[in-house]
Amino acid sequence: MKKYLIIGLVLITVIFSCKKSEIELFPYNQIETTQAFTNEAGASLALNGMYYGLRVAGGYYVQNWAIQSEVASDNVIISSAGRLSQRAFHDWTYNGDNTSSSFQDGYTMVRRANAILENIDKVPGSTPAFINNTKGQALACRAMVYFDLARVYSKSPLNATATDYTVPYVTTTDATIKPGNESVSIFYDKIIKDLNDAKGLIAVSNPVGQLNLAAVNALLSKVYLYKGDYANCIAASTAALGVTPVLSDTTTCPLVWQDASEAGVIFKIKNTDLDGITTQGVNYYQKVAGGIKSEYVVDYAFYQLFQNNDVRKAAYTFVSPYNTVNQIHVVKFAGRTTAGTPAGNLDAKVLRAAEVLLNRAEAYYKSGSEPLALADVNLLKIKRYKGYVNVVIAGQALLDEINLQRRLEMAFEGDRFWNLKRLNLPVQRSNFGDRADGSGPTYVFKTLAAGDYRFNFPIPQNEVNFNTNLKQVPGY
């Protein structure tokens, strides 16, 4: 019996034992980087992954982009009933430890674009049309992100000198780099080059949830405006808008903010019900048992600028009591009205025809074509004010109107602060409080002088500590 037992034991040892190949293991939900671009389908996945990056980036449009720059300006005031979120941005006390995550998020998105650009020409069996359209989208996405980074972290080119610098313009996926700062003007030139390259490659027909030719032109319109290149701004705007600009009107304007209409939307980052990112809306308020509980409410002085026949007034704002006190809440990002959609869940509108039209109006004005500028303003206003009759204004009044319309149109979307910086204007907040009648606790900090260093957010200190070639934004 002993013999059999021994044989049995030996057999068991052999059966249960292992092979050396058992320690060669690979993940179930990932592929090796080298396998990512082996066919068209793979490249399409990478492209979708790039857009996915736009959606989930904490510092970008679907999340904190709007709130951080908005609360740093004069459109909203902190609500004393709220949780005092984002206060560092409201009080301009941000520093390298608690700055916006846009920097990190921006380069994460850029890397995805760079990976596509490095590999797309080598994808076996793909058509030129596919290659061009993919490459065009990657270039446009990279340029778009860089433009936003430049707006956040540096002076605008109109106010920058030759020595003023911004963040690095990285075009590689090399992980060993420690790039230094780029000068503001060269950085903008690179953005423009990428966009112009994209123009020749990208498809016209890409849906509104992807970048397309109109989006590239809309971006160019914005970049040229920031650069002060008005002739090119006009040309790009016109290319984006077409012969007859399509804008949302008094009916569709509110629907755009419920994702029930895409009128006048050139590019938006999709955020489906399944995705369920509610940050855009929740950053402004939450709906609780006691009503709408705001974090930030509309500044009373600014609220006065919305006329009653302006459809944006009801589309963007809503007066209701919380804890018996009436406040003016920001409902622009309240979300889709379809049942079951999470509150605040909404596509993020990045480029809209109305903004492009205002870019062109301003460019016309700055290049001396006041009648054309006026025509654009009237074109927008007729789509926003019920019963609007065209007006004739000129000179400073016209410029003021253009600026006012930009502030109203783009309200709460995160444009105001960067626009003030572009125009080298101060943040001058009102003396009103956080209640619907202008009473209540007022702003603690009222003014940020034009050109103050805090118009530029600091780069995360961690990065400055590690990347010794990179200089922190001056002042921090």
Partner: protein, 1005 residues
């Protein structure tokens, strides 16, 4: 019952054998001390018949006429053969020496304690049994020098952080390897082990002891052996009942309602409740129009305050906290005969935690069996199944955490609204409501099994095969019920179910040759073995929204299925190992061991690594010139050196990958997930150890002293890359680390009388930890930094420089040391010598027995570390958040020129901001009365009278005293469940430890 069974068995035996027998032999078996031995098999060698001795050692056996010899066997005694002379055969049996000698299971074999060369401390069953702690790891605290235990949180069922001789790893796990009955158990699983099932725990600290576990032993090894039966069948029933409360915060006090309102008033702040009250008074006409908190007269204001306070909750601890209870029943049956050993136990443990809604219940059973099938082959199995269910209370770094909310919710706020619903408070969230309406439950089944066969093939050769499977199953359900506050805020209700399965499989084969030659002078033992480990993890997650009613809880009721996903990963390890031990006359010992491991976690070039160790020992007391020294009673020296490794990193960290879980516009997307590092390799630990053990004055004083040095090279850590690469880091080997220190243990047996014993034991461990090399500069992600010459994650913070007495502004130091009033993150500097690492720890314990009574106490102390006290920072927020409750310390703010205060001017808006500086970096030193037990043992004689084998009653207190200068509670494991971070770095509202009192008894039949 026992009697009945015995009678039946005997009757049965009688019936079977009656025919053949013609004479009866009787007798009594005693041991060398004259104590009757029960359970001895008495067999007639010629008849092949047999019986067993009863409780009094008596036997009666019928034998045939031809029978000449009787054989007496028992597992604990040397076998005796005796000629049958007459009808009575009385025998004195000698105990097997190996049983009396302390044996320890280490390194794939059982060794006599005296023969162990490496640094091993064993914690016996007596020290862990019947202590009212749900998790056995906490029981080890202070029990062995060099072993540091920190409770992660006070949550029932939470595990503890275990560190042996400092911290040898940072991101890779610094936890020791835990082996239960020869099988590695996961950190989650070990907290499920029932303390009373443990025979002993060997703490292997140095390379010589741990080397055979090579690959994973870099942070030491805990070898846990569960109980085997011994001797006569014994039935034990134990019961415990305890009550507990969270420990009170030290050195701080929450404001009362009156204080908080006064504070707000001083800060020129009107909370919205007061604002509403004033408005309603104006409407009602009892206050003139235009009234506000600051223009009414003091009496009116006081009346308002009183009115608000009257409806307030007062101390929210009365609501967010509760009295915890713990109740345990346990039944165990164990015993052995010459061939069979068994241990069987069942236990049920129900806990109510100290936070509102916290609950943890556990039911489990164990069966350990060992059978000597033939004299050369032994088979056995250890089986343990535990089911636990937990109601998890949210531990969040915001008001959703029940404990956190204590620091956020004001005492003047109501608990309930007029309609009986929970008041959501100014925070907009009531954790009371959340606990009720957003339940999270964990339901786990954990099974440990090991099945083994051991064959003694030749005289000196033993082969052993063990197959172990650990099975860990979790089903987790979290529900945002329809109608709950969170569901209203989010705009949807939702339920998420997670099913998770983890199977760890291990197959070990060893061959052991043990021989003594040359008149027992030369002994050697050779062990060779091979082991294969495989870990498989699988998780299924499903989410549904839009439930029609809170009472419907399965996902088939959800109107909108929302998410379904699975995840899976594998890990494998192949090992070959060998060790050779030799001793000369049990005086000089030497051990050599080596191991080769291949891990699936490392890059193609570095999958395999070799480890080895050498150990020397000299039992000096065996030398004639030493044992002549008359005050000495024992003296032994040990030295060892060796290497071990660590591979506890992510499973696929070496691969550069694209993840496919990105989704855009509801279509899949691929995103870069990880940077490749084909050079990722084993973290290597090289340990050098010197130790001595001694006994003085007939062991009246015993002790040990040791010095150790652990050098970790190729430290596994995240290697930073520039954010501009789109990544923050990749997993790599970043540098070298060194832990060195001393361990001391001293026991004084002050009184050793028959009825009176008193001993005192002190342990002390000192560990210095420093980085000795960095291959790549580490840049802080957060508030700690690696720097050559400094401990791990030495704080890297801006220095606060007090309040300027002239203007009441907070001052900081710039990098160059000049004072500034402007905070800038770029002024952060390395704070030399201040790190979250504990530098010294130990215990002072005493045992006192007088006749049937015993008292034992243990103080545990720990210190030398610094903690970023975020809790204190938040609660003295200086107007940064008037909405939140504050500590009374918040009143210590600047009011007028010349004031020297802790906080800046409350009414300067530029100062109403919280910055992360070293202002709240505090020493974590503390001492606690961890354990105080008073027990009573019924004397054997008395117990026997009432037909019991034994009875014990005890009363035990945990954490009855805590001494510290820290503001809050200094025992910081994880900062809270939401935020992993580095252990002990930040105090952040984690579930606090509890103070408890437990009573229990133990009856043995």
């Amino acid at each position: 019952m026992r009697k009945i069974i015995l009678t039946m068995l005997i009757a049965f035996a009688f019936v079977l054998n009656a025919a053949a027998q013609d004479r009866t032999i009787t007798g009594r078996i005693l041991d060398e001390k004259g104590v009757p031995v029960a359970g001895v098999s008495v067999t007639s060698t010629d008849d092949k018949t047999g019986t067993q001795t009863d409780a009094e050692g008596n036997y009666r056996l019928n034998v045939s006429a031809k029978a000449k010899t009787l054989t007496f066997t028992n597992v604990n005694f040397e076998t005796v053969q005796s000629q049958i002379k007459g009808n009575q055969v009385n025998i004195v049996m000698n105990s097997k020496t190996s049983v009396l000698e302390d044996v320890v299971v280490v390194g794939y074999q059982t060794l006599k304690r005296k023969e162990i060369i490496g640094s091993v401390t064993t914690v016996g069953n007596k020290e862990v049994a019947q202590k009212p702690i749900v998790n056995f790891t906490q029981l080890l605290q202070g029990k062995a020098p060099g072993l540091q235990i920190t409770g992660q949180t006070g949550r029932p069922g939470a595990s503890a952080n275990i560190r042996i001789r400092g911290i040898g790893s940072i991101t890779a796990s610094a936890e020791p390897l835990i082996i239960l009955d020869g099988v590695q158990v996961s950190s989650q699983a070990y907290s499920a082990i029932n303390p009373n099932d443990i025979e002993d725990i060997a703490v292997l600290k140095d390379a010589a002891a741990a080397a055979l576990y090579g690959s994973r032993a870099a942070n030491g090894v805990l070898v846990i052996t569960s109980k085997r039966g011994k001797g006569k069948p014994e039935l034990r029933y134990s019961f415990q009942y305890g009550r507990s409360r969270t420990l009170d915060l030290k050195n701080v006090e929450l404001m009362t309602s009156a204080q908080k309102l006064q504070y707000e008033f001083e800060g020129n702040y009107t909370n919205s409740l007061l604002g509403g009250l004033i408005r309603s008074k104006i409407t009602a006409g009892s206050l003139p129009a235009g009234s506000n908190l600051f223009n009414i007269d003091p009496t009116q204001r006081q009346n308002l305050w009183n009115e608000l306070s009257a409806t307030g909750a007062g101390d929210w601890r009365n609501y967010y906290l509760q009295d915890g209870t713990s109740k345990t029943h346990e039944l165990a049956l164990s015993g052995s005969d010459d061939k069979f050993k068994y241990y069987f136990s069942l236990n049920k443990n129900d806990n109510i935690g100290t936070l509102f809604g916290s609950k943890f219940n556990k039911t489990g059973g164990r069966l350990n069996v060992e059978y000597q099938a033939k004299d050369w082959i032994k088979i056995g199995t250890n089986l343990n199944v535990v089911r636990s269910k937990e109601d998890v209370v949210r531990e969040r770094f915001n008001t959703q955490g029940s404990y956190t909310a204590i620091f956020f919710t004001n005492p003047y706020e109501k608990v309930y609204n007029a309609d009986g619903s929970y008041n959501l408070t100014l925070q907009g969230y009531s954790p009371l409501e959340g606990t009720v309406n957003n339940p999270l439950t964990n339901d786990r089944i954990t099974a440990f099994t090991s099945i083994f066969a051991e064959a003694k093939l030749l005289k000196y050769l033993t082969l052993k095969s063990t197959i172990g499977i650990n099975y860990n199953n979790l089903s987790q359900e979290s529900y945002l019920k329809p109608g709950s506050n969170l569901a209203n805020i989010l705009g949807f209700n939702q339920k998420t179910d997670i099913f998770q399965r983890e199977v760890a499989y291990v197959f070990t084969n060893t061959a052991n040759w043990r021989q003594t030659i040359g008149r027992t002078k030369h002994s050697y033992s050779i062990l060779g073995g091979q082991e294969f480990n495989k870990d498989q993890f699988y998780q299924l997650l499903a989410t549904g929204r839009n439930f029609p009613s809170p009472s419907l809880t399965t996902l088939d009721n959800s109107g909108t299925p929302n998410a379904a996903s699975t995840s899976r990963f594998d890990f494998a390890l192949i090992s070959y190992f060998s060790s050779i031990s030799y001793d000369y006359a049990k005086k000089y010992y030497v051990t050599l061991s080596g191991r080769r491991d291949g891990s699936s976690r490392f890059g193609a070039n570095n999958k395999y690594a070799n480890f080895g160790a050498v150990g020397l020992a000299w039992d000096a007391y065996k030398e004639n010139f030493v044992n002549k020294i008359n005050f000495l009673s024992a003296l032994k020296f040990k030295a060892s050196q060796g290497t071990s490794g660590n591979n506890t990193v992510g499973n696929y960290d070496n691969l550069g990958t694209y993840g496919l879980n990105g989704r855009y516009n509801d279509a899949p997307g691929a995103t870069p997930a990880r940077l490749a590092n084909p050079n990722l390799s084993w973290e290597i630990n090289k340990t050098t150890d010197y130790a001595m053990e001694f006994g003085l004055f007939h062991d009246r004083i015993t002790g040990s002293a040791g010095y150790f040095k652990r050098k970790t090279s190729k430290l596994l850590y995240d290697v930073n890359v520039s954010y501009t690469t789109g990544f923050t880091s990749y997993r790599g080997n970043i540098g070298n680390l060194e832990n060195k220190g001393v361990e001391l243990e001293l026991t004084g047996n002050i009184i050793r009388k028959k009825n009176l014993n008193w001993s005192i034991t002190g342990t002390y461990t000192h560990v210095d930890n420093k980085i000795t090399a960095l291959y790549s500069d580490n840049v802080p992600q957060g508030i700690g930094r690696l720097k050559i010459g400094e401990p791990i994650l030495t704080y890297f913070l801006v220095r606060a420089a007090g309040i300027n007495p002239a203007n009441g502004k907070q001052q900081y130091l710039k990098q160059d040391g000049t004072v500034t009033e402007t905070f800038s993150a770029s002024d952060a500097v390395l704070l030399q010598g201040k790190s979250p690492n504990v530098k010294f720890y130990g215990s002072l314990s005493t045992n006192f027995t007088y006749k049937a009574f015993d008292i034992s106490a243990q103080m545990y102390y720990s210190g030398g570390n610094y903690i970023n006290n975020l809790q204190y920072n938040y609660s003295t927020g200086n107007g940064s958040s008037f909405v939140s409750q504050q500590f009374t310390k918040a009143f210590d703010y600047w009011k007028k020129a010349g004031d020297v205060t802790f906080l800046p001017n409350l009414n300067d808006p530029t100062q109403r901001v919280r910055q992360t500086t070293d202002k709240y970096l505090e020493k974590g030193d503390y001492i606690t009365l961890r354990d105080l037990t008073i027990g009573y043992n019924l004397s054997t004689a008395l117990a026997n009278k009432i037909k019991l084998k034994g009875f014990r009653f005890f009363l035990q207190g945990t954490n009855l005293y805590l001494g510290t200068r820290f503001h809050g509670l200094p025992e910081i494991g994880t900062s809270n469940s939401e935020d992993g971070g580095y252990n002990g770095q930040t105090a952040r509202f984690a579930y606090p430890q509890a103070r408890s009192i437990t009573a229990g008894f133990d009856v043995r039949f």
